[in-house]
Amino acid sequence: MLIGLTGAASGVAVAGEVEIDSGVVGATSDILLSAVDVAKSYSGVPALFDGCIKLRRGSVHALCGGNGAGKSTFLNILVGLHQADGGIVLCKGRAVRYASPAEAFADGIAIITQELSPVLDMTVAENVHLGREPRRASWFVDKRRMISATRSLFERLRMDIDPKARMRSLSVGQIQLVEIAKAIDREGEILIMDEPTSAIGERETDILFEAIRSLQAHGVGIIYVSHRIADIFSIADSYTVLRDGRFVETGAVANIDRQRLISLIVGRSLSDHEKRPATARGEVMFAAKGFSRGNSFRDIDIDVARGEIVGLYGLLGSGRSEFVNAVYGNEPKDSGEVFVEGRRVDIRTPADALRCGMAIVTEDRKETGLVLTSSVRTNISIAALRRFSRFGAIVGRREVAAVDRQIAHFAIKTASREVPVMRLSGGNQQKVVFARCVETAPRILICDEPTRGIDEGAKRDVYAFLASFAAKGNAVLLISSEVTEILANADRIIVFRRGRIAGELRASTATQQSLVHLAG
């Protein structure tokens, strides 16, 4: 028995009503892209068994699934980055097997990936037109036309960005928007967006959704991948769920609710988020006083009690990440003092912070978190090598034992501890970052967006870890731009706005509205 997608005419497939669809091969013109039973293995390890999707013209189709569900593999095949071992892909009714992204692109398939590739020292307009600059006398770049074209593109997409600005001067969220505009401007008929909102704030998300709707109206088909369930319900009209490399279900978003979608993705039912039980014990464990740096943040005073999780909420660029990195010694500060258990400590470098029992999970695991080219083992032990060494020589036995313990503790999915971290999925990479922090035996843990870009299952593992870590009498600073996440996992929430503390709320009484209100 094979799972097939129902034909275009019969509408939406309902799980359970499985039917073999012979109409797939001769798809109607309404279908932009359809894939059936796409399979792929890497080094003999299957990553995808039967990837199926059917993308209709003018539709936003959410591709959902946890880490290791096979989404990235599936997308890579659709855009020609990797080649399938088996299965059928039809683009506008024609069977295709792309050997390169360029071939897919020629067929009108464009992708916006999680990893951005802007040229930071060029202007916004130059980036948008990279590789297809408008010419004058066939040799020279027509700058004026390039800028005016970019301006009108942004107007159409309602993005407020200066085409003449250098990319470097933009915020991460703005860069993401430019990259999206760039893909849109290439006028593909099929647009694949892989986690487009993971790095941008709420305001930019609204702008993005606006742009997506206008594309939709022009008949573009969009495959939308996101871990943010809320995104899917606000923008997508249909969904396909993959789990563990297998097709699970497809249907219309109108016919499914949040609870059921999440349970499809994680494969088990999920109770609604509860407030965490308070484990705070009163006495102050960690305090930062009078932290300021230029325009980034000013007069920040924060304390965390033993056993407490304090949430830092704020929009992108509100200064929360800059603040914690200054506390940790990763970035400079103009002023500010740190107290650990009432004693003033001098933190100038991350090494000082580690010595004081602090550890940080940075915002971007690929840029600042992991040594991607090194093994899981090296990445887990790197911050705590002193414990595994004698006279500068590593005692391999002790290190390996500790690393294996962490791999088991965090249930990190990896073929072996010697595999380079870059081969792991996002959630597993993030678990490696956590394992490294834990290995340093910290008492104060700073987590900057610890669940960005990882799936529901891995998220819940992270939350469970934070709760148990705090319950042991440690202090946690949790930064998140997801309101529900911070409400469910912090005891107290401090809201940042434009580099200052805008207010403080108890998680038990705070509401989503109150948080968003304070931050905006």
């Binding site: 399979a39 699970v248 978190g369 040594v371 090194s374 790197i382």
Partner: protein, 333 residues
């Protein structure tokens, strides 16, 4: 609600033959450099009668030892995504400094002379390191400048003249044998062994890889990134400072023009070995193979009577080929 599906479980890979070829391809690219060394050796064993003789093999090892010593240091530097173009000049000044200590009626002990060479090399290395780690001068530029400055210093110090008539004890370092093995080969082996142990089993070695792989992550993990970057140039300088006296002893004269272009040979050995110029990936074992490939190739072409002009062309082609293979390996993990 998920849909259980038994037939999917039983599905096997669709093209087993293709999978097998992919596996073979992976093996070749993974062990490509070792394989190509073996192929070269087997080929030359048939092509030339004298190739496999003990005398010739020792000869090869002696010829590669100077480049090998420097290539070990270069591996440290390249692992941090750096480069050192000044080592040919550093080698020359270290050779002249130690050579001057072992002439005349009362020559210094060769061990002390070599120490003087190593110290000289470390000094130049630490200037490189300070420029790069402290003042953030790009490694290429800093060491390009040092290449010229150190060469000028050598010529100034030596008056542009060779230093001949080095003491017999000192010459033993380059020409002598210990247990039937040429002394430079023993030094090279020792340098390799220590480098290998340091990079593989020491905390410092882990730091070098981490700094090269992702300096920001290394910093967050409490590693003093600047100190590590500084240190690899000192290590490199020290090894060039060790190679200088040995080369002087081998050629019986300390020449101020010694070591011209040696930095490129060292880089070639590292690159042929497959160490990534972007940092974080590679090992001195790879560099050892790279060094041997260059040595065996030069020797083999010599034995077959091929002009040394061709040798340069072949060496260049091998460098490019090595990087190509390395690239394809990275693309298809």
């Amino acid at each position: 609600m998920s849909t259980p599906n038994a037939s999917v479980e039983a599905r096997t890979p669709r093209f087993p033959a293709q999978a097998r070829w992919q596996a073979i391809g992976r093996f070749i690219s993974g062990y490509g450099i070792v394989l190509s060394l073996i192929i070269m050796v087997v080929f030359l064993a048939f092509a030339s009668e004298s190739f496999l003789s003990v005398v010739n093999l020792m000869n090869i090892l002696r010829q590669v030892s100077i480049n090998g010593i420097m290539a070990m240091g270069m591996t440290f530097v390249i692992l941090t995504a750096g480069i050192d173009l000044s080592i040919g000049s550093t080698l020359a000044i270290a050779g002249v400094v130690s050579g001057r200590l072992v002439i005349g009626d009362d020559p210094l002990s060769p061990i002390l002379a070599i120490l003087a060479g190593i110290l000289t090399g470390s000094l130049f290395g630490s200037i490189n390191g300070a420029l790069i780690a402290r003042l953030r001068v790009p490694p290429f530029v800093a060491t390009l400048g040092m290449m010229s400055m150190a060469r000028g210093a050598t010529l100034l110090y030596s008056g542009g003249r060779p230093t001949p008539e080095l003491s017999a004890d000192f010459l033993w370092l380059g020409q002598g044998f210990l247990l039937g093995i040429p002394v430079p080969v023993i030094v090279f082996a020792a340098v390799f062994l220590v480098s290998w142990i340091v990079l593989r089993f020491s905390v410092y070695g882990r730091w070098v890889y981490a700094v090269g792989g992702n300096p920001r992550s290394a910093k967050t993990s409490g590693i003093n990134v600047d100190a590590v970057v500084f240190s690899v140039y000192v290590v490199m300088g020290a090894l060039a400072g060790l190679a200088g006296p040995i080369l002087a002893a081998r050629t019986t004269t300390a020449l101020p023009q010694a070591g011209l272009g040696y930095e490129l040979d060292a880089i070639a050995a590292v690159v042929i070995g497959g160490t990534s110029l972007t940092g974080g990936v590679g090992s001195v074992a790879n560099t050892l193979i790279g060094t041997l490939i260059i040595g065996v190739m030069n020797n083999g072409l010599d034995l077959m009577g091929v002009s040394s002009y061709y040798q340069q062309i072949v060496k260049g082609a091998i460098i490019v080929l090595a990087v190509l293979i390395d690239h394809s390996r990275r693309k298809n993990p």
